[in-house]
């Protein structure tokens, strides 16, 4: 959705400003999106693809009155992930150019190892494998549907967003009063682990096509042996989303490969990125990140206050209808059917007693097959 907004706005701006100015605007907007997206992910269960995995732990915290802290964790992860990746980008340029051709050979195997780790960690391994294969099959089919150009939005909305909302409706949950936490209740060791891993994994996956923030989150969580807990995981997901965006400047500069919609538009505008441009983009990203962090926390406080005044059941129904309408308008009837089927698949892991991350098979299996076959 963020990429669509950028693609719509940029031609209008191009009529009035220079290409570099428009590129700077797009980057600032894209970075800000990675922060502000944390709010609907937690409060409305309506995440962007990269934050899909944050929905369940975030929703859990929301129901415990800790929605603000959940957003804060993701936002802090985004901010420090942004700073760390901005510092490391320039020294990483020669390394990326040298190792990229070799890494490409192993990416499929790395992801396969992640999948096996996810399944191995489950108590119900056979159920986990079956559900992984089911969601993987859904993903493979979705990416090969000739009737839909962009299957990600309907598929991930159903798998992670609408399924959570339907379960909330079924359980008749109500949002309790929300606490506004001044401090984060996460140990320093887990904070450093989450931020470090978000930078590493977010950078690694941004080098490759078809692999994004969602896969990076799964990889990061498995690398820690899931020891960072739900709160650490939220910080990891927040960090990965922003790092993925920042490191896409690096892939564009070092490898001439745009890896997301915003950088594709930037490439159309300025054709190639110079070393000076890279500095400008990094500076813009840091400034935008600072503003976005303050804005996100301010808006989250407001949301925390107003969300308890709303009938949550009606809000869930409203969001379900809104997302359904958006899918219908953007992806047509086939997209709507895909969303409905994805919702059914998305309901299965929590009902079967298996982690929802198993549904990442919808993205992981197609990508693994792409790399290995």
């Amino acid at each position: 959705m963020a990429s669509m907004f950028i693609l719509t706005v940029s031609p209008i701006l191009f009529a009035f400003f220079s290409p570099l100015a428009v590129a700077v605007f797009i980057i600032a907007m894209a970075i800000t999106h990675t922060f502000l997206d944390n709010i609907p992910s937690i409060y409305l269960g309506a995440p962007e693809p990269g934050a899909a995995l944050a929905v369940l732990p975030g929703h859990k915290m929301l129901l415990q009155g800790e929605g603000y802290e959940a957003v804060k964790l993701m936002t802090v992860g985004s901010f420090f992930g942004l700073l760390l990746s901005a510092v490391l980008i320039i020294p990483s340029i020669p390394l990326v150019k040298a190792i990229f051709p070799y890494l490409q050979q192993f990416m499929g195997w790395i992801l396969l190892a992640v999948v096996l780790a996810i399944i191995f960690h489950e108590q119900k391994k056979i159920v986990a494998l079956a559900l992984f294969l089911l969601s993987g099959t859904l993903g493979v089919i979705a990416f090969n549907l000739p009737q839909i150009d962009t299957p990600l939005f309907p598929m991930l909305s159903g798998l992670f967003g609408l399924s959570t909302l339907f379960l909330s409706l079924n359980d008749k949950v109500n949002i309790p009063p929300q606490k506004i936490a001044d401090k984060l209740s996460l140990e320093k060791k887990k904070v450093f682990t989450a931020i470090g891993l978000s930078t590493f994994c977010g950078s690694l996956v941004s080098l490759f096509p078809g692999v994004g923030a969602a896969e990076a989150s799964v990889l990061g969580n498995e690398l820690t042996g899931r020891r960072i807990g739900d709160k650490g995981f939220l910080m990891l997901v927040g960090g990965v989303n922003t790092v993925n965006m920042v490191v896409s400047f690096l892939t564009f500069y070092a490898l001439d490969k745009p890896r997301n919609g915003a950088i594709v538009v930037v490439k159309e505008l300025i054709k190639e990125i110079t070393f000076n441009n890279l500095w400008i983009f990094l500076a813009v990203a840091v400034v935008a990140g600072c503003v976005a962090m303050v804005l996100t926390l301010y808006l989250s406080k407001k949301f925390s206050h107003y969300i308890t005044k709303v009938n949550y059941q009606k809000l869930c129904v409203g969001i379900i209808l809104l997302v359904g309408l958006m899918v219908l308008l953007l992806s047509g009837i086939y997209g709507f059917i895909l969303m409905a089927v994805s919702t059914a698949v998305g309901l299965l892991p929590p009902l079967a007693g298996v982690k929802r991350s198993i549904n990442m098979g919808s993205l992981l299996l197609p990508v693994i097959l792409m790399f290995l076959l």
């Binding site: 979705a142 090969n144 000739p146 059917i337 409905a340 059914a344 698949v345 009902l351």
Partner: protein, 115 residues
């Protein structure tokens, strides 16, 4: 609704739904065999058959002129993702999208079949 009931409904819906989506994925999107390249404004994928009258074959892209139904040629640009060998005089079927370049319509080929 009980969770076991919801689980059963979700499982049945998921399996049937995936099967239905698989059937949809096997449908080929309608291709339009065009009568004239000028009529193709707004069409998504078009197909043209004809003889290559001129070809400039580079490493990653081939520029071709195809002589087809009427005595007129259409420009085709084919971005190659593998080695293909086409020569002047070959009869081909090209599938692609119509784009405008310097005021003239041309086809950006996505698939070529040697007849």
């Amino acid at each position: 609704m009980r969770e076991k009931t919801l689980l059963k409904i979700a499982l049945i819906a998921a399996i049937i739904g995936v099967i239905i989506l698989f059937i949809f994925s096997q449908q080929e999107e309608k291709k339009i065999v065009i009568k004239s390249i000028e009529e193709t404004a707004g069409q998504k994928i078009v197909k043209v058959q004809g003889k290559i009258t001129k070809i400039t074959d580079k490493e990653k892209v081939a520029f071709m002129e195809i002589l087809w139904e009427k005595p007129e040629t259409v420009e085709v640009v084919l971005f190659k993702d593998q080695n293909i060998s086409l020569r002047q005089g070959d009869y081909v079927e090209i599938e692609g999208t119509v784009e405008e370049y310097k005021g003239k319509k041309e086809i950006i080929g996505s698939k070529v079949v040697l007849k």
